[in-house]
């Protein structure tokens, strides 16, 4: 009797467990189908809005139509993405038309409401839109966002501020750059693009002087991308003021070489004998770009440096001098006293021969030593 009861109980438990598992699987499948349906519905909705507004945005580039279709809140989000993309694709007068469209659809007000949204992507969308619309009423909010915990929010806010008023934004952003270790220097250079290369170069150079040596040196290296001479005065002042860190000094010398301003030659020369090897290396490279005929001897002397990379860059700098030819390098090779200095020149002699194949290539007899 007891045995029968026990098997009955086991059977009942098994049945309940099986039903539970089937129900859970069924619910899970139902959930997946529901999520899929919602996603497809959203995609279709987004597609429908895109199909209506994409041609309208294109039309707005030429002229804003008199009547515009109505917008729901969800549609408005899609429109903001399309609007920003269109705005970033064009330049010139057409942007004014897009701004007019945004005002007529109430996108400025809508973006202001999104500025406090719970979802990060909506907040970012709002900041970008309001920056493009040059919405001055949110200036203080954007300025506060420069110190936001989230690096994306702070970077996008900085870019929006620069869109709204570059001159007023630069003094706000410079002190922040030095404190934000989560801002990539490459991103920093990119956010200054709307302000123009010269404003960007000066601002970044000033920020580099205020930042820690680690961040400052990275910023200075990226300044080369702006190709602006406006970066040089703050850095010259920094070097004149006192003793910057070796990292900063090396970065400044790198930039002096890239900008090739003859006014910096004397500064470069003084650092050819710096105790830190990577400062000597940058000085040698820079001298190869901006040096004069008298600097050839200084570079030759560096071919005997104790550090391999300094010798290598000195050889490269020598080969880069505008008056240097394969023949002249070969002649120089023969006058060198050490194997270390000679071996650095060999590859550059070969490269010079390739660049200028006529007359017949000259290869030094001791090339095998390299």
């Amino acid at each position: 009797m007891l045995g029968l009861d026990q098997s009955d109980l086991t059977l009942r438990i098994g049945t309940i467990a099986a039903i539970s598992i089937y129900s859970a699987v069924g619910l899970l499948l139902l959930g997946i189908l529901l999520l899929r349906y919602i996603r497809n519905h959203k995609d279709r909705r987004r597609q429908a809005v895109t199909e209506i507004w994409r041609p309208l945005l294109a039309e707005c580039v030429v002229e804003v139509p008199e009547t515009l279709p109505p917008l729901t809140t969800r549609d408005h989000l899609v429109l903001l993405y399309l609007w920003n993309h269109c705005y970033e694709s064009i330049r010139g007068d057409a942007r004014a038309n897009l701004k007019e469209l945004a005002r007529r659809t109430g996108s400025d007000q809508f973006a202001k409401e999104l500025l406090h949204a719970r979802l990060l992507r909506r907040r970012l969308l709002a900041i970008v839109t309001l920056g493009h619309l040059q919405e001055r009423s949110i200036w203080n909010e954007l300025a506060a966002m420069l110190r936001a915990d989230n690096a994306f929010v702070s970077l996008v806010a900085a870019k929006a501020l620069l869109h709204i008023d570059a001159q007023a934004a630069v003094p706000l952003i410079i002190p922040v750059i030095g404190t934000r270790k989560d801002w990539s220097p490459l991103k920093v250079v990119a956010i200054f693009e709307p302000a123009g290369a010269d404003i960007a170069a000066e601002a970044i150079a000033e920020a580099a002087c205020l930042a820690s040596p680690e961040i400052g040196s990275r910023l200075i290296r990226h300044l080369a991308a702006t190709q602006s001479q406006h970066a040089l005065p703050p850095l010259r002042a920094l070097l004149q003021k006192g003793l910057p860190s070796d990292d900063l000094l090396a970065a400044c010398l790198f930039l002096f070489g890239e900008c090739s301003d003859p006014r910096d030659v004397s500064t470069i020369r003084t650092h050819l004998s710096h105790p830190t090897w990577y400062v000597r290396l940058q000085a040698a490279s820079a001298l190869g770009k901006v040096g004069m005929e008298e600097d050839e001897a200084r570079l030759i002397a560096l071919l005997d440096d104790e550090h391999w990379w300094v010798r290598y860059r000195a050889a490269e700098a020598l080969s880069n001098l505008p008056w240097m030819t394969a023949q002249r390098l070969t002649k120089l090779y023969d006058t060198l006293n050490t194997v270390e200095s000679q071996e650095q020149l060999v590859s550059f002699i070969a490269q010079s021969n390739i660049k200028a194949p006529d007359p017949a290539p000259i290869v030094p007899q001791q090339a095998g030593t390299a």
Binding site: A58, S89, R91, G92, A225
Partner: protein, 131 residues
């Protein structure tokens, strides 16, 4: 009595980004061009081998499958397409791409973001010059 219509000038537009393509198509059609759109490098390559030479080509540099520079080489090797004016569309700051494109036979380039008015006037100038 129907007056004979002036045949529309044909432009081959190679652009993968849908929003940009839609904008370009609108601007070109508004300027009375007949637009043939290739969405990637491979489709552009196919069109180059099958269609008659257009009056002008508008070619993006960054494309899936085949880059704009590779498509440019394909176009310049194709018989009948050698003199078709090609305007490259390139992102800001890619001087290297511009140099390579011009060396490989492109006639001009436009930097993105572009000025719509400048784009149509440049195309017009090229087509007029080719005619």
């Amino acid at each position: 009595m129907d007056s004979p219509e002036t045949p529309k000038l044909k432009v081959l537009m190679v652009e993968d980004e849908e929003d940009t393509a839609s904008l370009l198509k609108f601007l070109l059609e508004r300027a009375s061009y007949q637009v043939v759109h290739a969405k990637d490098g491979r489709q552009a390559q196919e069109l180059v081998s099958t269609m008659a030479p257009p009056d002008i080509v508008l070619l993006d540099v960054m494309l899936p499958f085949l880059s704009g520079l590779q498509v440019l080489t394909v176009i310049r090797k194709r018989e009948g397409w050698k003199k078709v004016p090609i305007v490259m569309l390139t992102a800001d700051g890619s001087e290297h791409d511009i140099k390579r494109a011009l060396e490989n036979g492109a006639n001009d380039y436009m930097i993105k973001p572009f000025n719509p008015r400048e784009l149509t006037s440049r195309l017009k100038r090229f087509v007029a010059h080719a005619a």
